[in-house]
């Protein structure tokens, strides 16, 4: 119980720190922070499926795209007042994503491992191309969204807080989920799906539910992301690097841990945008080296390494 209180306090402290940060740093760094919170939110949403259930999706950007296009098309067709449109778009973006996930859940969740990963990669690719080539979606032309930022706030600060709220919400949701009945069921599925099923875990239902939840959260972020861009095309929301970064951030921090995706996102965004910001030519190269080094030296992520150290330290303490 003591550990849990400490963890909640730590999370609260980090949240408070992130909440006051924009007041003290340069606009560029607020933008980096915004990117970090976006990445953290996406990684957390991905991690609900990939980390807890062990189903690695390689095409989660599909849901970012669905969320964004839902918000965009809603605006184009209904022309609601900006703030109302933003709220409705965000909400509906999550819902449409969830509905789509529910439709494809039955077939794709029959696949496991690499085949599931690639099936979703395929889904995202198909959606991306359809959104670009079917005129009704206007993906090639691009969609414009109204400016919703109140005059009193700088836009980067406004979206910083939007993404902060999303990331914090998803984090809290993950924390709750992990300790729930569903969470334990997912852990069982991750470790051994057939055994879990044999022991009476309703694997099918749990998997579908998790998939839909993860898609809904990703879609919500996608809708907000679309508003933060203001103008977007297919290419700016159906992005392979979104899919990859979600995985990478979760893995870097530590798969299966709560804070892992956040820590991974923080580290990678910091390294690529601040440390290597001036070296545009080599920054992907260095990212690659980092990834390889990570897998070779710390395969269970940073939190995993920390856990191993602590275990060793404890062993040494006791004679």
């Amino acid at each position: 119980m003591k550990g849990r209180t400490a963890a909640i306090l730590a999370a609260g402290a980090v949240l408070a720190l992130l909440a006051v940060l924009p007041a003290f740093v340069m606009p560029y760094h607020v933008r980096v922070g915004q990117l970090f919170l976006l990445s953290a939110g996406l990684a957390l949403a991905w991690h609900i499926l990939g980390g807890f259930a062990g189903y690695w999706s390689f095409g989660h950007t599909a849901f970012v795209g669905i969320g964004a296009f839902t918000a965009g098309l809603l605006h184009v067709h209904l022309k609601l007042p900006p703030m109302l449109g933003f709220a409705a778009g965000t909400l509906l973006g999550g819902c449409v994503s969830a509905a789509f996930a529910a439709v494809i859940a039955y077939p794709v969740l029959r696949l496991r491992g690499i085949y599931f990963a690639i099936a979703l990669l395929g889904v995202s690719q198909v959606l991306g191309e359809l959104s670009q080539n079917v005129d009704a979606f206007q993906g090639a032309l691009g969609l414009n969204l109204p400016d919703i930022v109140p005059d009193a706030i700088r836009p980067e600060v406004f979206f910083y807080y939007c993404f902060l709220a999303l990331a914090a919400g998803i984090f809290a949701f993950s924390a709750w989920l992990r300790g729930s009945r569903l969470g334990y069921g997912l852990a069982a599925i991750r470790e051994d799906e057939d055994t879990a099923r044999m022991l009476g875990v309703p694997t099918e239902r749990f998997k579908v539910l998790t998939f839909v939840l993860s898609a809904a959260l990703t879609g919500t972020i996608g809708a907000v992301y679309a508003y933060s861009l203001g103008y977007f095309t297919s290419g700016s929301v159906f992005r392979v690097d979104f899919s990859l970064n979600m995985i990478l951030h979760a893995l870097l921090g530590g798969i299966g841990t709560l804070a892992g995706p956040v820590i991974g996102a923080a580290l990678l965004v910091f390294v690529t945008n601040v440390l290597l910001g001036r070296l545009l030519d080599v920054h992907l190269l260095v990212t690659g080296v980092l990834v390889v080094g990570l897998v070779l030296l710390a395969p269970s992520g940073l939190l995993g390494v920390l856990r191993d150290w602590r275990a060793r330290w404890r062993r040494n303490e006791r004679p």
């Binding site: 085949y115 690639i118 395929g122 191309e129 080539n133 030519d281 990212t287 390889v292």
Partner: protein
């Protein structure tokens, strides 16, 4: 009618190249259960080597293939023994995905630094000659590309099924532990497999170079194509790669011709997803580890 036949022909030529490009990927996936995301890079390195051979030495790209294969065999062997082995030891799919993704990122950027980001293409001396067969046009380049692809796949099948190397590779694929008990040096075989697969990727690159333009960012595209071919045809066997590749080539050209030039990729993934649902082992799913 002529249009259908011409599309069929183009599809087969493209499919032959796809098959060859996927054969090595399929081998690695089948034997080591490693999804090698660097595969596309090896294909491109082959293409760049062939381009350099023609550009600097004036060697015909198809004649440069043995040299390209030798270089990439050595590179693949070394790469497996130094970096990939750690992923194999952990026998974790995800470790292998990430390591190879990281290496692909590094190599792609090195290629950009070395050759620049622009598209390159190899133009052999016979580039503009073509044959007329009734109403169909066959240019020599495409015919020789198809012939080279089929010949090289036959060579790979020969290596796998008729030589000692092939025998130990197949034994290791079936059960590495048992193979080890029989005196096979499993690590060496893994290195060998990777070397052979990389060599064929390089050869595919040289062939691709004369048919299509190429640039460093293409590598992901080639890796994905290889994966699609493997899913369609089945893991681990050259025959599976051949069948999957030809099918993919046909899907590509027919979609582009009759549905719209923007849709081949969407169609490819649609077929891929359907295939995964109906027959996840691929059309010729084999007894190799990866297909189970």
């Amino acid at each position: 009618m002529t249009l259908v036949l011409q599309t069929l022909l183009d599809g087969l030529v493209l499919g032959g190249v796809f098959s060859l490009a996927a054969a090595g990927f399929s081998l690695i996936f089948g034997v080591m259960n490693v999804v090698n995301l660097t595969h596309g890079i090896f294909v491109l390195i082959g293409a760049y080597l062939a381009w350099s051979a023609q550009h600097f030495l004036g060697v015909d790209p198809l004649l440069a293939i043995p040299g390209v294969m030798a270089v990439l065999f050595a590179a693949g062997y070394a790469y497996q023994r130094t970096i990939i082995q750690s992923a194999v030891d952990r026998s974790s799919l995800l470790a292998s995905l990430l390591v190879t993704f990281g290496v692909a990122l590094v190599l792609r950027n090195l290629l950009v630094l070395a050759f620049g980001p622009d598209f390159k293409s190899i133009t052999p001396s016979y580039a503009f000659t073509n044959l007329k067969l009734g109403a169909l046009t066959l240019d020599i380049v495409r015919i020789s590309a198809l012939a080279a692809s089929l010949g090289l796949i036959a060579l790979l099948a020969f290596v796998l099924y008729r030589t000692d190397w092939g025998r130990v590779i197949r034994a290791t694929a079936q059960q590495d532990f048992a193979a080890g008990l029989c005196g096979v040096n499993v690590r060496h075989v893994y290195g060998l497999t990777f070397g052979v697969a990389s060599a064929f990727a390089g050869a595919a690159g040289a062939v691709i170079g004369i048919v299509l333009p190429f640039a460093p960012p293409d590598e992901g595209h080639w890796t994905m194509k290889a994966f699609a071919v493997v899913v369609l045809g089945g893991v681990g066997s050259p025959a599976g790669a051949l069948l999957g590749g030809l099918l993919l080539g046909l899907i590509n050209t027919f979609t582009a011709q009759f549905i719209g030039p923007a849709f081949p990729n969407a169609m490819m993934f649609l077929v891929l997803v359907l295939m995964l649902l109906v027959r996840p082992h691929g059309l010729l799913g084999s007894a190799f580890g990866g297909s189970r």
